[in-house]
Symmetry: C2
Subunit: 161 residues, 2 copies
C-alpha cells in the first residue's frame, strides 16, 4: 500500500473535462480529470473511464465522444456532471452539434470531437484511445485544474491497498 496516496497522486496535474456520448436517442455526459494527449499525427487523446458506467456503454455502441474543456468558472458544471443518477442531467446546459453524433458542450473553453480507436485495460478503469477528428475553441478563459476542485468527487476514499 502506498502511504498518503491521495495527496501523492494529486501531484500529477490533470485538467477537468466533461466527456459526452450519444447513441441514437440516448445521451450522457460525465466529469473526468484523467485525460491526456497521446499523439501528434494523427492527433489523438486518451482518457480513463469507469467501465461500469452508462456512458461507457454509449461510447462502445457509438464509437464517438466529445471531450469538453472546463474553465476556471466552471466548477458548478464539473459538480453537476460528476453526479450519477441525476434526472435530465443533460438539459441543464446547452449543447450543440459536432461532426460525430456526440454533443458538444457550448459553455466549454474548447472541445475535441473524437472517434474511439480502441480501449485497453487499466486496473479499475479502461483507457479509451481516441482520434480527434475536429476541435475548436468556444470561449476564452483558463482551464480549471483538478487540484482546484478540492476532492469534489470523494476520490480520496478510492485508494485501497
Amino acid at each position: 500500500m502506498i502511504e498518503n496516496a491521495s495527496a501523492l497522486f494529486n501531484r500529477i496535474t490533470h485538467g477537468v473535462y466533461v466527456i459526452a456520448v450519444a447513441n441514437g436517442s440516448e445521451q450522457n455526459a460525465f466529469t473526468a480529470a484523467w485525460v491526456m494527449q497521446v499523439s501528434f499525427a494523427p492527433p489523438m487523446i486518451a482518457f480513463s473511464i469507469n467501465h461500469g458506467h452508462y456512458s461507457y456503454k454509449l461510447l462502445q455502441a457509438s464509437g464517438a465522444c466529445t471531450v469538453n474543456v472546463l474553465g476556471q468558472d466552471h466548477l458548478a458544471i464539473a459538480v453537476h456532471f460528476g453526479r450519477s443518477g441525476v434526472k435530465k442531467k443533460m438539459s441543464t446546459y446547452r449543447w450543440q452539434a459536432g461532426k460525430t453524433v456526440a454533443p458538444v458542450l457550448s459553455d466549454s473553453l474548447a472541445y475535441f470531437d473524437c472517434k474511439l480507436s480502441h480501449t485497453t485495460d487499466a486496473g479499475d478503469h479502461k483507457i479509451a484511445v481516441c482520434e480527434v477528428i475536429d476541435a475548436a475553441e468556444l470561449n476564452t478563459g483558463w482551464p480549471l485544474l483538478y487540484s482546484q476542485t478540492d476532492n469534489m468527487d470523494g476520490s480520496s476514499n478510492l485508494y485501497k491497498s
Copy 2:
C-alpha cells in the same frame, strides 16, 4: 486537418515529468508531459512515449520506470532531459534508488516507481500503462505546467494534416 491544433491541444492540461528507465548498466531519462492517472485500485498511471526512442527500448527490456514530477523551479531540468543525443545526460543531476531498477530523480517534487503492465498503440506514440508499486514526496513546491514551458520542445511543429 484541425486548424490551430497546437493552441487547441494546449487547452488539455498536462504537468511536466522526467521519466527514467534502466536496464543493467544502461540508463536514460526523458521529459514528458503526456502523463495521467488511470486507476485507483491498483494505483496506475499511463504515459505516451515515442517508441522510436532509446528509452522505450530500456522500458520494454526492464519493465520498469519512474515518473518524477517537476516543480515550478525545474524548467532547466525539463529542458535538459528534453534533449536527445546529450552525453552523460544522467550525471548532471542526482539520482537515488527506488524499489524497481529505475532511478529516482532526487530533485523532483514526488516520484512514482512503476512496473510496466502493457503498452497500446496511439498514433505516432505508444501508451505505456503502469502499476505504481511505490511513491513518495521528495520536495515541496507546486507542479510545473506544460503550458508554462512555452513550446520548449518545438511540439507546435509536429501536427500534420
